[in-house]
Symmetry: C2
Subunit: 268 residues, 2 copies
């Protein structure tokens, strides 16, 4: 493994770009290969077998580019397919669940952690397991929020959007009642909703799974002397499995900047 090799990142679609955003901010020298499986998005409502099949195909696509590490920038794929990916492929894998769980345990004061995510992520119990593995005295309250991804993908995430507010109030009310002091945004689409969520839960500390993942990856690469330190701005390449035009159109809201590389549509 050489430090010049790119980092591979995959997600079911657009959401993983929020992870790319923090990768670019924190490790600007790294080359990045991104794959968004837009022909089969969303993963969040599919069965575990299907998600595992899709996630392995995504990793195999990235392996063609000699990536030095893979970031699973999708909470659903990380929850359902991480163990299988680690067993099957011989390269460092960083997910989003583990790092966010660690950060939540470190930051909670009352030991009550909330998690919101897709149906598949929440049903997998992945966050609960990850938190309890670090500290079995922690209590985790999870809530599936299946309407948030479609809302975000249709440009509705502003804190003053009436629909967003009603839906968030419904989803978050049971977590508020449990008196959580920390909430994990367990889906890479949700950082866009951060302000709206904060408005519903003003006293709660909000953790974005993507940012936590970037911290963990940087530590890992540093420890193994694999951090790219060429001091040249990294190259970023984007691949999707369907409809490059719509991906390009929507990428900016997730990336926080316009896309700095061409998007290529490939068949898996």
């Amino acid at each position: 493994m050489k430090k010049e090799q790119p980092i591979g990142v995959f997600d079911s679609g657009l959401g993983g770009l929020t992870v790319v955003k923090s990768l670019i901010e924190q490790m600007p020298d790294e080359d990045i290969i991104y794959f968004g499986d837009t022909a089969r998005v969303p993963y969040g409502s599919r069965s575990s077998e299907t998600i595992q099949t899709y996630a392995c195909q995504d990793v195999e696509f990235l392996l063609q580019y000699q990536v030095k590490a893979v970031v699973i920038a999708c909470n659903t794929a990380d929850s359902m397919a991480r163990t299988l990916i680690e067993e099957r492929y011989d390269l460092p894998v960083v997910g989003v669940v583990g790092p966010a769980a660690q950060k939540a345990v470190a930051q909670t004061a009352n030991g009550k952690i909330g998690v919101i995510g897709t149906k598949a992520t929440v049903n997998s119990g992945a966050y609960e397991k990850a938190v309890k593995a670090i500290d079995p005295f922690m209590r985790v309250f999870s809530r599936a929020c299946p309407l948030l991804v479609p809302l975000v993908e249709n440009g509705r995430f502003q804190r003053n959007d009436k629909v967003v507010r009603i839906i968030l109030d419904e989803y978050l009310e049971p977590l508020h009642r449990e008196n959580i002091d920390t909430l994990v945004l367990g889906c890479t689409h949700y950082p866009l909703l951060k302000e709206a969520v904060q408005a519903c839960l003003p006293d709660v500390n909000i953790i974005s799974s993507g940012e936590a993942s970037t911290d963990t990856l940087r530590e890992l690469l540093t420890r193994h002397n694999l951090l790219n330190d060429t001091k040249e701005r990294g190259e970023h390449r984007y691949f999707v499995s369907d409809d490059a035009a719509t991906f390009t159109e929507n990428a900016e809201i997730f990336l926080g900047r316009s896309l700095d590389g061409a998007v290529q549509c490939i068949t898996l």
Copy 2:
């Protein structure tokens, strides 16, 4: 072709069950094979090439069961792939767009027809073309409503649901402003929203594409002496490409009754 052969119906997921509902009501003797492509739902936001590939695979699955006709119970697949399916396969194909367009032209008084559907259906211009082919003096006003499918699939379609009301008002307001007197529900999920839509547009005549499709199929089978008249209640078999459990759980709201056959999960 024999009258005892089943009718094949396919959709990207659950929505096509509203078409099965009217098939069962109008032709109770017919055997039905239903396929819902739940591993790759939704079709409505994908590219035309991808939708064409998926739709042909769906038809090929149904052909294994010696179906006497295929119903494309998905406006998106019908809009994007109908011509290709008709060219490639030698069997009668009934869609949803053509029949609904005919009904709309027959029923409008002021010649102003509204159409709501997925992004792919609306962008294809299929309804506009179908309506103008019948009567070029008609005016068609279309609106993509990408949030309606996720809302319905999450059980939100009641006319008193606040979120449904806000979203429908936003989507329908431009059609109302055009003074349409007839509205086609151009997505097989939308019949569940019929009451809510009617509440927003109380004076507009609403046409469900699935019901129109069933009328056309019945005429076609009658004309070719292919209507099953055994006077025995037909058998209904359901196949999906992912997660039979969730499909079974949600089927009742689309079918208006509990599922009368087992659901089998297959790999395409």
